[in-house]
Each structure stands twice: as structure tokens, then as C-alpha cells.
Symmetry: C2
Subunit: 228 residues, 2 copies
Amino acid sequence: MVLKLYCDLMSQPSRALYILLKSVKCDFEPRFVDLRKAEHYSEEYTKINRFQRVPVIDHDGFLLTESVAILKYLARENIIPDALYPRESKLQARVEEFLEYQHAGLRLHCAMYFRVIYMNPILTGSPTDPKSAVGYKKRMISSLEDFNTKWLGRGTDFIVGNKITVADLIAACELEQPRMAGYFPEENFQNIEIWWKKVRDYFNPHYDEAHVILTKIVNKQKKTVSKI
Amino acid sequence: MVLKLYCDLMSQPSRALYILLKSVKCDFEPRFVDLRKAEHYSEEYTKINRFQRVPVIDHDGFLLTESVAILKYLARENIIPDALYPRESKLQARVEEFLEYQHAGLRLHCAMYFRVIYMNPILTGSPTDPKSAVGYKKRMISSLEDFNTKWLGRGTDFIVGNKITVADLIAACELEQPRMAGYFPEENFQNIEIWWKKVRDYFNPHYDEAHVILTKIVNKQKKTVSKI
């Protein structure tokens, strides 16, 4: 069995899959696709993923895109254990309920905030229109409020009950994204702060390893902000 | 076994689940939640879904939200047959690849176009800002182009090979939404036109039955447009 993971650790679902595969001691080959060098737009990579995105897996020649579809496939192939992706139907449904929710309920808003506040000014050389920035921030905060109270804050340690699952890892990696744009969810939402520490602890040292570049950017941003 | 489906046929994933359950001759109880009367915001319904959305299923007391998570659960419970939701791992991965893609790749743009062009003027009494409308239309058309060429247009009858699956039904119901706002994907994209007819034919009479109200709105819109 050869499993390759095409990924860039700047991409949140890439990090989630990278951390997961490391944690379950899967002998996979990471293939780094540098988004900042636009390697995902190359002719070679477009043959791997016609949508020119990461992550992608190549499992003995079977190419699959979409991080949540990849998670499900890896669970069926017993690469992700039952402990992290429950096989029992109702418990699995609860995990998948979050995995489906997060696309438009969390990921969209955190990713857009990161893109508009951090990436676009770098790419275009122009600062973001302040009125537009306020709208993106408002929508992100609203989605974080929902995550803080309607998924967490229900008396359990993790998103689905008291056991950690892939749902927690996907959410944790997502919430790192706005930190690069100077917004820190853990400083504003207590349930998120408490839960996030548990997720990091469980997946370390792999969690921190996958976030090395991101953490450097976050620290640089903090210095910039403190100078102002 | 009692299966209840909380739905509104104005909602595209509600229609998909309704059509699917009818097609597989599942003896379910539809519970209509009128979004236009804001019934989803009621205290009673909030207990069913804390996110105040449709669809939701109640399967012998097990409440589940998120249409794609519901589809997966119903497949595991053998309510959706293998023919429509393949159990073979790689084939299932291909179906799920689309189900995950469509959240941000198709649904977001079609739903936003419908909301901005059709719903918001009704709710607010003010027409949509034309500049903003152009942006939403552009993003929707781009997503339809991708659907037309990168999912369809690959030499197969359906999204995943030559057999119809739940992926086709989810996409078909989604593409109905902009028609209410006066945009007709079938008039602009030939692969979509050909594929759509096959999906409707397969799921009829249930497909048309679930689209009765929508079709009335579409026809009313057409008359309004032709008068101008």
C-alpha cells in the first residue's frame, strides 16, 4: 500500500490530514504543493486535481480530492481507527453532522476572513476596504459564537461527546487560520480556549509540527500589531 | 421504524430528501415547516434543530440535521439502496467527493443568487444593488461552468459514471433554485440540459411533485420578465 498526500501546511484541511496520518502512524508520503508559488496551478498538478486545490490523496493510484471525502474513505479502508472516526451508525452520524455543517458554518467564514484580511493585501498590494473587512469579521465572529455555544458548551469535552474525533481536528485546524490575520478565537471564546488545548494536547507533537510555519506568521503578525 | 422528515419544499436539500424517500418507497412522515411563515424560528422547532434549519430527520427518536449527513446515515441504515448510494469503497468515495464539493462549489453560489435576487427584495421591499447582483451572478455562472465541464462533460451519463446516484439528485435540486430568480442553467449549459432531463425522468413523478410550488414561482417570474 502506498499512500501519498498532496498538501500545503498553509491549508487547514491539508494540516488536518497530515496530523491525522502522522498520529495514526500511517506510513504515508507527503508531497508538498507550494500554494504561495502557485504550484497548484501547474499543468502537472492539474492532472492530479482538475480543481487545482489541496489536499489530494493517491492511494495505490486512486486519486481522491475533498478532505471530508478523504476522511470517510480512509476510515472505510481502516487507515483511520474507529476511535477517531466511529463506525457505529448513530455516533458516526453525529461526527458527520459536524463535518457537513462546518463547510458553510465555520470554514467559509474563517477562511474568507484570512483571505480578505491577510492574503489579499499581500497578493494585490492594497489594503482591504475597511467596510468590507467589518462585514467579514462580523460573519466570522457569528460563526465562532455558534461553534462556541451550539457545538461546544454542551457539557462535553469534545464536539461529539467526551471522546475526541476527526471533527475536533478539522475544527481546530480551521480556527488557526484567522490567527494569521490577527484574530484570536481563544481570547474571545472560553469554550473554544478550553477545548482547543485538549485537541492540541491529544495530537501533539504532530499538531505543533504541522503548525510551525503558521505559528511563525502569527508571531510576526503579533509583533507588527504591538508596534502600532 | 418511524421516520419523520422535517422539510420545506422551497429548500433544495429538503426536496432532494423528499424525492429520494418517495422514490425508494420509504414509508416516512413528511412534517412541513413553512420557512415563509418563519416556523423554523419557533421555540418548538428550535428544540428539533438548534440551528433552525431544514431538513431534519427523526428516526425512532434520533434527530439528525445536515442533508449530506442524513443521506449517509440513511444509506448505512439501508433505507437508501446501494444502487443510489454505492457501498463499494472507491465508488462511494467518488459520490462523496461530489457531495463534499457541492457545499462551497455549487450550493453556496446558486443559493446566494436566489437569496439576493429573489428573496431579499421580497423580505426588505428594496431591489438588490445592481453592482452586487452582478458579482453574485458572475460567481454562480463560474460554478455552473465548473459543474458543466468538470463534473459533467466527461463522457458519462451522470456525475459518477453511467449510473445515477444521490449526487445527481442533490445537484439537480440545487440547480432549480436560480430558476426562481429568473436564471435558467439549462439554457446556458448543454451538458447540464441533457443530464438534468435524465435525472428528472429517473425520479419522476416524485421530482415534479416536489417542485410544484417552485415551478409556479418560475412560471410567474417568466410572465413578469416577458411583460418587461
